[in-house]
């Protein structure tokens, strides 16, 4: 078993007197993909912020190795974690290449710009996210999906061992979503640890090693491999929706592939 790089113990967090997260405990091993799932407002993004030390828990703790998250400086944290944020507005238009180079900020001398080595990582990241053709475009003119790929490229250029994605594929079409999922799985197999917030149950179940499912009240419903966590009962507790689950065997017969089908709208709407 790989070493745990992130350990969360009995974490409680409240915001303005309201409990947002209660008694969350789990661990993340290096090179695994964890998907955090749950309804809107169940505290998924807040949990990601707690993990990278941007918020301090009321009680319980977040450990990066032997260091508590809030004791790491911004720079130290950025060397460990690269974040793909939720969609954000771009008030200024940058050249896409410059936008991706921002991911290299921590490696630059405070008085110098990006080095040749920095630009090499920038171009690699653009290529691996299918966005090399966007390199000289203006960031303000990009579509939502293009911008998300550029943001992912920036996080990859940061070369941190952990990648955090906050609903980072929400704006992508089916084809690009699939290629990003393949890229994430590939990165996981090459030792990158990935923690993502996702609403896409089918792809999360397929690429994740572990799933953390939160209830609308911010409690931990279950944590474990997808086929243990994503049961019909758990999903109904998390989302209040009944689903049919199809189980397929993959071609090599070793893993189960789950497919989730929500009940058609015409069911259950009548009292």
């Amino acid at each position: 078993m790989e070493a745990r790089i992130l350990e969360i113990q009995e974490l409680d967090f409240s915001y303005r007197g309201k409990k947002v997260l209660r008694q969350i405990s789990f661990g993340v091993e290096q090179g695994t993909i964890l998907s955090i799932m749950g309804a809107n407002g169940s505290g998924k993004s807040t949990l990601l912020r707690l993990l990278r030390g941007r918020l301090r828990p009321d009680s319980g703790s977040v450990w990066w190795g032997r260091t508590a998250a809030h004791r790491l400086s911004r720079r130290e944290m950025a060397l460990k974690v690269a974040v793909v944020p939720q969609q954000l507005q771009q008030p200024f238009g940058f050249q896409v290449r410059e936008m991706v180079a921002m991911g290299r900020y921590i490696y630059q001398h405070p008085l110098a710009g990006p080095s040749r080595r920095d630009w090499k990582f920038v171009d690699e990241a653009l290529t691996s996210t299918d966005s090399a053709h966007l390199a000289t475009r203006c960031s303000a003119e990009l579509s939502g999906g293009e911008l998300q790929r550029v943001m992912l490229a920036r996080a990859l250029a940061q070369q941190a061992p952990v990648l955090m994605l906050d609903e980072a594929t929400s704006q992508l079409d089916m084809g690009h979503k699939r290629s990003i999922c393949l890229l994430l799985r590939d990165l996981g197999q090459h030792g990158k640890t990935i923690v993502q917030v996702s609403h896409d149950m089918n792809s999360a179940a397929e690429i994740s090693d572990k799933i953390l499912l939160l209830s609308p009240a911010g409690e931990q419903i279950a944590f474990g491999p997808p086929h243990e966590v994503l049961t019909a009962a758990h999903i109904e507790a998390a989302y209040g929706v009944q689903v049919d689950i199809e189980r397929h065997s993959s071609t090599d017969g070793r893993t189960d592939i789950l497919r989730f089908l929500p009940q058609p709208l015409s069911f259950g709407s009548a009292p």
Binding site: R52, R54, S73, R74, R75, M77, A78, L79, V81, A82, V83, P85, L88, P91, F92, G93, F94, Q95, E98, A101, M102, G103, Y105, I106, Q108, P110, L111, A112, G113, P114, T136, R137, C138, E141, Q158
Partner: protein, 330 residues
Amino acid sequence: MQLGIKHTYLWLPLCLIFLGGAVVAGLMYGTVPLTAAELVDILFHPHSAGLKSTVVWQLRLPRVGLAALVGMALAVSGTVFQAVLRNPLADPYILGVSGGAALGAVLALTFFSAQSYAVPSLAFCGALSALLLVYLVARAHQAATHTLILAGVMVGSLCTAVLMFLLLYSPADPMRNALFWLAGNLARGEERWLPYGAGVCVILVLLLWSRAGLLDVFTQGEDVAADLGVDIGRERLFLFCAAGLLVAIAVALAGLVGFVGLVVPHAIRLLWGAGHTRLIPAAAIVGAGFLVGADALARTVLAPAEVPVGVVTALVGAPFFLYLLRLRGR
């Protein structure tokens, strides 16, 4: 339209041509107009006698230099405020920072002499206090864009009101000073600290240029910047102080000149994008040229009388601001 940002290598020659043209205009036009041939002759024979030579060497050249310095300081500080506050409408004048600096400077003039270092020092204190006030008010409201502008305009008005009161209350030559501070003017510049102020400005601009990567990251919002590894609190303080000092020196030398910091960076972003590696030096050069040109115009339109240069920049800048406001409202 998917032109992208290309031909970025053209920025330096084009910016220098603009500055060069403005300087030539600044030297040629005024109460005593010169032809190009006369100007070349005078510039190549610095010790020749005659009225026109004196005008160029004693009056126009120092004045063009002062305009260039003030324009550079205002354009670069505007660029920095826009990046840190993530708001393309931020400008030292609109944010009330210039007003704070002017109030500080006039307080110093009331109690000390115009020669004193107290003038730029108190201008700096005034600039930072105004900035802090605006920043805290806008931060309390999360929707910063328009709150920030409103807070800035209010702080600016407050400073101007106190300034007017002080000017009318103080005995020495109140009306001339009032016009000077409220509308901007490049007609003086006898301060003993001027060379030091100029030196500090150039050093600050170079320092900010060297932190171009930091400014780039700040435009992504403080949240994202923190994730990219920026110690937000410390770096923001550094950037605010550097930009505030630039404004303080500009205001102590030339009074309230508005909109340079708004128009210049915006025009450059349209041409070559928002990357600060180009934006900071381009804003410095074009800002210098813009104010030199505006001053040439201010000296010519009503010659032999002079229009305050702040009037010229406001005539260009205020409509431009309204246009941007409309554009963003969509």
